[in-house]
Each structure stands twice: as C-alpha cells, then as structure tokens.
C-alpha cells in the first residue's frame, strides 16, 4: 500500500507530464497548419510542371534518344529507396510505419534477386534501418527543413539522387513517405520517380493540349533541363507531405497522451482520497476505543 505522500507525488508528476504533452500537441497543431499551407502553396508549380512535361513528353515520346531520367537505364536491377521519416519520435506510428513498409519492399525486391540501396531522409529512419540493413544505406540526410522546409532542402536531396544516378549507382528510384490524408490518418506511399513516367495529357484541357508547341531551344534540351527540376519537385512535395503527416501524427499522439494522463490523474485522485479517508477513520476508531477503555 503506497503512502499518501507517494500518491501525491505520483499525481504531481503525471500532471506535469500532461502539461508537456498538451503543449506539444498545441505546437504540433500550429506547425501542421503551416505545413499544410506550404503544401497548398507548392501545388500550382507542380501542376504546371506536370502539364508542361506532358506536352513535352508527347512530342518526344517514342524516340529512343530520350533522356535517361525518363526512359530509364534499360534495366531494373538496382533499386534505390528514398525513405522519408522524421528526425524525432513522439509521433505515434509515423516513423515505424514507413520503416515497416520499407522493410517489406526490401524483402520483396531482394526475393526477386534485385539489389537494393537506401537513401534516408530523417534521423529516425536512418537509426531504425541501420540496425537491420547497415550495408544498404548509401547516403542519409538529417534535420532537413528543421526550421522551415524550403525548396533548397529538396534540392540538396535531389542533387544526391542525381549524382548517384549519373554515376550509374541505381536504375530505379522510389520514394517511400507518409502521404497526408488528415491529422488522424497518414498513408504510407511508394512513388517511383526514376525513370519518370510522363503524365498523360489531360483530355479536359481540350484544344489547348493538342496545340502544337514550338520549342526554344530544342525539345530534348528543354526536357533535359526540365526532368531534374521535376525530380526536385517530386522530392519537395513528398517532403512537404511527410512534414505535414509528421505534425499530424504527432498532434494525434500527443492528444492521446494528454487524455491518458487525465485518466490516470483521475484514478490516482480517487485512490488518494480513499486512502486519506481510511486513515482518518482509523485514527477516529483509535481515539474512540481509547476513550471507551477509560
């Protein structure tokens, strides 16, 4: 039986934990809003980039001389998985679900006899995967966009991917990240970025899409410039989604923690009051029986 003082201390400590988790929840909520706004703001660029690529691809398509980022290297022996996780924990299943999906993908690819390489973004992913697949990690980034995610961060990651690609280190690249659905749900998504599958020309743009474009300089030259940019955009938007998911997951996790702490406090308060009453009753009985004995 714990003493009254023990229970009091316990309640105090749970209360302070609750204060921390509820503050973290609030911080995550405001960061989530900012991350969502940023993702929103980045959408027009990605959209227009997609449109431009589609019309370009329609012009270049079929030619064997297309850029390798689009046509691929002609083999799919070596896969590069770009794993995006957070730098920090306390966010529910956010990191572990990405890692679990990655592990599954690695096993599947290895079972097919493919070589797998990993590029991790975020400290947690690196830490978790390093234990299991220490030899597969070719590069890792940490604290990407710690203050505010900018395009330059995505550029850094992309530069590394391109460097590996140009050195012939891999044939197919896939990004594994959490796609933001709502603050409660994040969906782990695998998205292939190299070779890049050109989007179909949307039919609803009608006459505009079928317009014959002139190119300056040549189609090939523009495409060669545009494809690395597009890769950067893909990485950027995945990073944005991942950041929004992270804060969403953290917010939910902290909300649960706060609620649990509340429950615990209630439970301990009940025990505390009971114990207090019991000890008072005991004292009274002692006094009364002492008086009667006289």
């Amino acid at each position: 039986m714990p003493s009254l003082k023990d229970i009091r201390n316990r309640i105090a400590s749970v209360k302070s934990t609750q204060k921390i988790t509820s503050a973290m929840k609030m911080v995550a909520a405001s960061k989530l809003r900012r991350a969502q706004e940023q993702a929103e703001a980045g959408r027009p660029y990605a959209e227009r980039m997609g449109r431009m690529l589609a019309s370009l691809a329609a012009n270049v398509a079929g030619g064997p001389g297309g850029p390798r980022l689009m046509t691929g290297t002609g083999s799919d022996q070596t896969h590069l998985l770009v794993v995006m996780t957070g730098d920090r924990g306390l966010c529910g299943g956010f990191n572990s679900s990405v890692v679990r999906e990655t592990r599954r993908a690695i096993q599947r690819l290895q079972a097919e006899g493919k070589t797998v390489k990993l590029l991790t973004v975020g400290r947690k992913g690196r830490d978790l995967l390093r234990r299991e697949f220490p030899s597969l990690i070719v590069a890792s980034f940490e604290e990407v966009g710690k203050k505010k995610l900018s395009f330059a961060d995505a550029d850094r990651v992309t530069a590394k991917i391109l460097e590996l690609f140009n050195a012939g280190q891999f044939d197919v690249a896939t990004i594994v990240y959490n796609k933001f659905k709502s603050a409660m749900t994040q969906i782990v998504t695998l998205q292939q970025v190299v070779p890049f599958a050109a989007p179909e020309v949307a039919s609803d743009t009608g006459s505009e899409a079928s317009a014959v474009y002139e190119f300056e300089p040549s189609e090939e030259a523009i495409l060669a410039d545009l494809l690395p940019r597009n890769l950067a955009i893909q990485v950027y938007s995945a990073l944005l989604e991942s950041a929004a998911s992270f804060f969403g997951a953290q917010m939910t996790a902290m909300d649960n923690a706060t609620r649990n702490a509340g429950e615990m406090i209630k439970k301990y308060t009940l025990v505390y009051n009971r114990t207090r009453q019991a000890s008072i009753t005991k004292e009274l009985i002692e006094i009364i029986s002492g008086a009667e004995a006289l």
Binding site: G42, Y45, R51, M52, F151, N166, E216, I222, I233
Partner: protein, 142 residues
C-alpha cells in the same frame, strides 16, 4: 482576340504573380521574347534576367521582376513561368554588391577546380545567376 494575356509566375514555394497583362517580355535562352495575346504556343527555357510586365499599354512597364532562370510555357491566352527563384527588381538592387562580387569570385574559383561535367554544369548555372544579379544592379542588364 482578347487584348490581355493571363500571366502567371510560379516558384516551387508559391504562386507569385497571377494577373492579366498587356504584354510581357521574357528573357528566353535564345533571346528576349515579347508575348502578346494570341502568341503561338511555345515552350522556352528562361535564363537569369528580368521579366517586364506591361499591364496597361505598350509604353509603360508596370512591374519588373528578376528571375534566376526557369521555364516558360506560352499558349494563346496564357503565359506561365516556372521560376526557380524570383524577386522584385528593387529587392535585387538592394542586395549588397560586395557580397555578390565575392560570390562571383568564389564561384569562378570553384569552376576552375570543378572535376566532373555535372559539377561544372551546376556551377555555371549559379555563376550566371550571380552575374545577372550584378548586371541588374548596374543597370546593364536590359
């Protein structure tokens, strides 16, 4: 034919400008192009330089924007520029000249040391941007 063309300037981080304009002059990779409504569809790479917007008539420039390169898609009714970096010309003019010149020197040195083709390519790109910023300050850039 409409007398205005829808002009959009987009950076990866946000939509910067979206307005109907009378004419816009874009620094294309192979020379400046003035885009009026009804222009033939084109896709052009944009080099570092200044975009001039003529919103009201052909004579007055209402806005000058510095871009650090990108892509431009033109259709009859729309001009879309995907810029990597864009800022108002006055902001570029406000940059510290000494810092830019230092960057220029640094990059030139880096370029001399560059080993791979890819590295040289990126450095040349950066160099062109800094050079264009300097030119914009000096007013020698168009």
């Amino acid at each position: 034919m409409a007398d205005k063309v829808e002009f959009e300037l987009v950076s990866p981080e946000k939509l910067l400008v979206s307005q109907p304009v009378h004419m816009v002059v874009v620094p294309g990779a192979e020379g400046f192009l003035g885009v009026l409504p009804g222009h033939a569809p084109m896709i052009v790479t944009v080099k570092p330089g200044i975009i001039d917007i003529y919103a009201n008539d052909m004579a007055t420039i209402t806005q000058r924007i510095f871009v650090a390169g990108g892509f431009c898609e033109i259709t009859g009714a729309r001009v879309t520029i995907l810029a990597e970096e864009a800022s108002d010309l006055n902001a570029v003019r406000g940059l510290d000249r000494a810092t830019l010149e230092k960057q220029l020197v640094d990059l030139t040195e880096d370029l001399a040391d560059a080993k791979s083709e890819g590295e040289r390519h990126t450095l040349e790109g950066k160099l062109a941007i800094v050079q264009a910023k300097l030119d914009a300050q000096a007013g020698t850039l168009h």
